[in-house]
Symmetry: C2
Subunit: 290 residues, 2 copies
Amino acid sequence: MILGSIEAGGTKFVCAIGNENYQVKDQVTIPTTKPAETLQKVADYFKDAGVEAIGIASFGPIEVRKTAPNYGYITDTPKAGWSNTDFVGFLKKTVDVPMYFTTDVNGSAFGEYVMAQLANEDVDSLVYYTIGTGVGGGAINNSKLVGSAGHPEMGHVRVKRHPDDLDFAGICPFHQDCLEGLVSGPTFEARMNKKGQEVPLSDPVWDIMSYYVAQAALQVTLILRPDKIVFGGGVTSADFLQKVRRDFAELLNGYVHVPPLDQYITLPEISNNGSATVGDFALAKRMLRE
Amino acid sequence: MILGSIEAGGTKFVCAIGNENYQVKDQVTIPTTKPAETLQKVADYFKDAGVEAIGIASFGPIEVRKTAPNYGYITDTPKAGWSNTDFVGFLKKTVDVPMYFTTDVNGSAFGEYVMAQLANEDVDSLVYYTIGTGVGGGAINNSKLVGSAGHPEMGHVRVKRHPDDLDFAGICPFHQDCLEGLVSGPTFEARMNKKGQEVPLSDPVWDIMSYYVAQAALQVTLILRPDKIVFGGGVTSADFLQKVRRDFAELLNGYVHVPPLDQYITLPEISNNGSATVGDFALAKRMLRE
């Protein structure tokens, strides 16, 4: 099989051509400028490549319901110029192959799920969170992406506030102190007037962060009972996840069985943000098989 | 088809015989005493009834993973005498038919899902919460029950505390101020030394309750994107759900599209706690069809 992957981000589109074993044969990076310009370059890249299907993991919000009149669109995004863009429709004018259209985090979730399956891990369901400029999450349940009325927006749940953080209002323009408003990368500037990279892990702010992230892990544990929770994104690190595991164990208090925490709450298996590419290939492959 | 339903509760077992159209042909109530005594009465009821399959919606926690050595057991329940009870194995000695074993709330969730489908509602996924002596939830995603590492325990998530409720410690013996510790029926006694039925809806405590319940609805909205959220249990009422819808709308702040709130956040379609019976019949029927 020849399969395509599009990771559509706010600053760049990473397009790749690969095979059913998730091997990348060619890859190109296209800067995110205006929709027509960017998408035409993407379409041209795939035009004569012989791809049989393409998986697309896009920034959002996007319309993923096949029955919606604007299926395949980026909808009302804060990214200037990109609201109401017919992503899939535009590409199909040049490359008319089956396309699986989903969010960036769903693509990453599916990639991590596929890798766990290849490694013979006992993983039938998985949650992938990214904690970076924003916070988002995607989930697989019994091999299917979760979400019926639309795609998840796991970053905007509310959490119990940390007693040492009650004065911080949060920075989400929609919800102030939702999860994203409390733990996304820019909260470091808002709380401390520093970049996150400059704040050592010994700083107590990381314990506040891990308390909130552990509550997110607790929510999906108790709502979805997944086999694995993966945390990606620039704020995450191996040392930070140690704190998250500690706080998660304390919050769960042994209430339900979970796998050993170093296997349950993990960094991505696929390095260099490659999860979505594998996920895109796998979703494209699945389209051809169904 | 002749199908069986067992709703196993802490005070009584409701057993029913029905058909593939979810019509109850016969029903019996058996008090919950000791496991062997209760389960033998249940087995005797079904012994010569000719049922082809049985759906079981049980109090928990229970083991629902087919690969687990103690699949079909009630595990470490607080219900005296019932820990480590081989529920399915015991029944199969007398009635050896296929049995679908799940939680009470999963059974109710499936029943409400089936009713929505019969009513031609556009419902592919649904969450059912009960708010009563305890708080629990079950979910359907793309026609399948959610939960891979076990069944959900949605009552034990954490929520942002209401500013007028910060002095209340919560009553969950495992987590203090988790959702169940803040909104289950016995919290009325703990907060006000009154029974919930004695507290009029004009009392501000109901606004505290609805703030927490709305956060639960928000969590599953943003994590699962279901088409419908049903609230059952003794604490719930039509008037209380009006408050929940109000607080939910404020918390969501238009961030994702949801159906009209009076269709999205609802009481059960099936009255008199009958959701689980329909769900049991439907799960039994599905077992025979698959």
